[in-house]
């Protein structure tokens, strides 16, 4: 396989990490907490979509929407029940609560779905891959298998393609929402100074709920995309991608929205490239090593905000 091939699969995985990392970073920015249950929302999203798709009557698109709705509500409810009462508690108490919520979600899934891995049906099951083939006349584009293996440049599965496109569209929409709408500006204001935001008339509780809702809906999308590309679904499916996305958020600068996007994509690319060229066993270690090196030279992450000195 070619370098470009690995690059594309890294982009696809990285785009999914970015969606998850956005949830981490937005919640951190606004509630100043690490929501370690965030990864498990991915798993809930996967199981919800799996259950809906498995029932004969539910079309795929509706299953995805149901999954998004379930995760959005779940995220908001978790915040209300578990985190809101601890808004003024020491950070360690909040962190332990988040870990507790994470175990709760995993065990609930274990109870309902058992520990056996399910085979997740891809949401673009019957769509053919794209192929780019190099011929004398230049690069050609096919959507059905062709017999020119020696000149094959690149095969992009529909899952890879959809992951990249959907993630990019969502990231663009989110960027627009945050920077151009009133609710988005309110989120920026709350993340910088809750008290001052209240003086502006911003409802801080509602803004925090909105942040959890957005983060969890992105996690649902990430769950569906990830399970479509990597179809094994079990109660622990969310934890490793959750941790990687957390790393991606720190890598990009925790609290920074473009940072989470860049961090997620870089992480996916580094992971796939090192899997291909160095060692598939060591790829995770390499990812963490890169993180450590970046943090040594730039402790706030790639796009981390400096603490503003008062003039």
């Amino acid at each position: 396989m070619s370098f470009i091939q690995y690059l594309v699969s890294g982009l696809s995985l990285g785009a999914i990490y970015a969606l998850i990392a956005l949830g981490y970073t937005m919640v951190y920015g606004i509630a100043k907490m690490l929501n370690f249950a965030h990864g498990d929302i991915i798993m809930v999203g996967g199981f919800t979509a799996f259950t809906a798709i498995s029932s004969a009557w539910c079309p795929v698109w509706l299953s995805v929407i149901i999954s998004i709705v379930v995760c959005t509500v779940l995220g908001v409810v978790i915040e209300k029940i578990a985190y809101k009462p601890l808004r003024n508690a020491p950070p360690l108490a909040v962190l332990i609560t988040a870990i507790g919520v994470s175990y709760f979600l995993q065990n609930a899934a274990l109870l309902i779905f058992g520990s056996d891995s399910k085979n997740f049906p891809s949401v673009v099951k019957n769509a053919p891959p794209f192929m780019l083939v190099y011929e004398n006349s230049g690069v050609k584009f096919f959507t059905s298998p062709v017999d020119t293996a020696d000149k094959l440049l690149l095969t992009i599965s529909m899952e890879t393609f959809v992951s990249i496109v959907v993630s990019l569209v969502i990231m663009a929409a989110l960027t627009f929402f945050i920077n151009k709408t009133k609710a988005g500006k309110a989120m920026l204001a709350v993340s910088e100074d809750k008290g001052a935001a209240q003086l502006m008339g911003i409802n801080v509780n509602a803004t925090i709920s909105l942040t959890f809702a957005i983060g969890s809906s992105l996690a649902a999308v990430a769950g569906v995309l990830m399970c479509s590309s990597y179809p094994l679904l079990n109660p622990y499916t969310g934890s490793m991608p959750g941790i990687k996305a957390f790393v991606a958020a720190v890598f990009g600068g925790i609290g920074s929205i473009p940072g989470a996007m860049i961090g997620g994509i870089l992480l996916g690319v580094i992971e796939q490239i090192s899997k291909a060229y160095i060692s598939s066993q060591l790829s995770d270690a390499i990812v963490f090593m890169v993180l450590i090196i970046v943090l040594i030279f730039k402790p706030t992450g790639i796009l981390g905000k400096k603490i503003n000195e008062k003039v």
Partner: protein, 236 residues
């Protein structure tokens, strides 16, 4: 009836009683100064009025509504703006975005634009820097932005917490001129200051706060000639 009436207000932070039963009034059109040393409880009073800190007991009635039962984010749309201590502008956002957040609860786009123009007329420096990131403004400019942001809600009363803090003498004079002119254009002002001399010079009436109690009150000009005020706050 007065515009803002505070009755037997007690505020505590855990075991620390910061405000120990104070009462005072602000009438429409006035500039009221609340002066006192560092740690006297001035900021606590303003924070309690706008709901950032809950009172232990007492009432805060603004135009007939008890603010102690009103969520903090509902207060600005009732016509009360607060320029907090340390300015607390949104450092990451531009000057213009900060101003627009000041108008967060207002709906009418045309009226908001008119308010922006008015703020820019009052603070030409903000107009020049409208797209600059607020955190990169100088201290005096940040104070102007904090005041402009408060004015964007079109308040009937504006609470200001140490607007002169940390500013050069030139800026201090400018800020006090602006406070006076904001008041002349019809906005009531409750001014908290450590700079008692300046505050008393523009206020109609004043209250002196000492470790959570109001120990003196009255006409600002009379307080300026009061011996204990002179000794404790005017450095004479």
């Amino acid at each position: 009836m007065s515009m803002l009436h505070i009755e037997d207000l007690h505020v505590s932070y855990g075991a620390i009683n910061a405000i120990k039963g104070i009462s005072f009034d602000v009438d429409e059109g006035e500039i009221i100064a609340l002066i006192g040393a560092n740690g006297a409880g001035k900021t606590t009073v303003l924070h309690t009025i706008t709901g950032l800190v809950p009172p232990k007991s007492g009432s805060i009635v603004f135009n007939g509504t008890d603010l102690t039962k009103t969520p903090a984010h509902k207060i600005v749309s009732m016509g009360m703006a607060h320029v907090p201590e340390g300015r607390r502008i949104f450092q990451q956002l531009s000057v213009y975005e900060n101003l627009m957040l000041g108008a967060f609860t207002r709906k009418d786009k045309a009226e908001i634009q008119e308010s922006v123009e008015n703020v820019f007329k009052r603070f030409p420096r903000l107009k020049e820097r409208r797209n600059q990131i607020a955190g990169t403004l100088s201290g005096g400019e940040q104070q102007m932005l904090a005041m402009g942001r408060a004015l964007m809600s079109h308040p009937s009363i504006i609470l200001m917490d140490e607007p002169s803090m940390g500013l050069s003498p030139l800026y201090v004079s400018e800020i006090f001129d602006i406070i006076r002119s904001v008041n002349e254009s019809g906005t009531t002002v409750l001014l908290v200051e450590q700079n008692a001399k300046k505050a008393l010079s523009i206020a109609n009436r004043a209250y002196v706060l000492e470790t959570g109690n109001i120990v003196l009150s009255g006409d600002a000009k009379e307080l300026m000639n009061n011996d204990s005020v002179k000794k404790a706050y005017l450095g004479e």
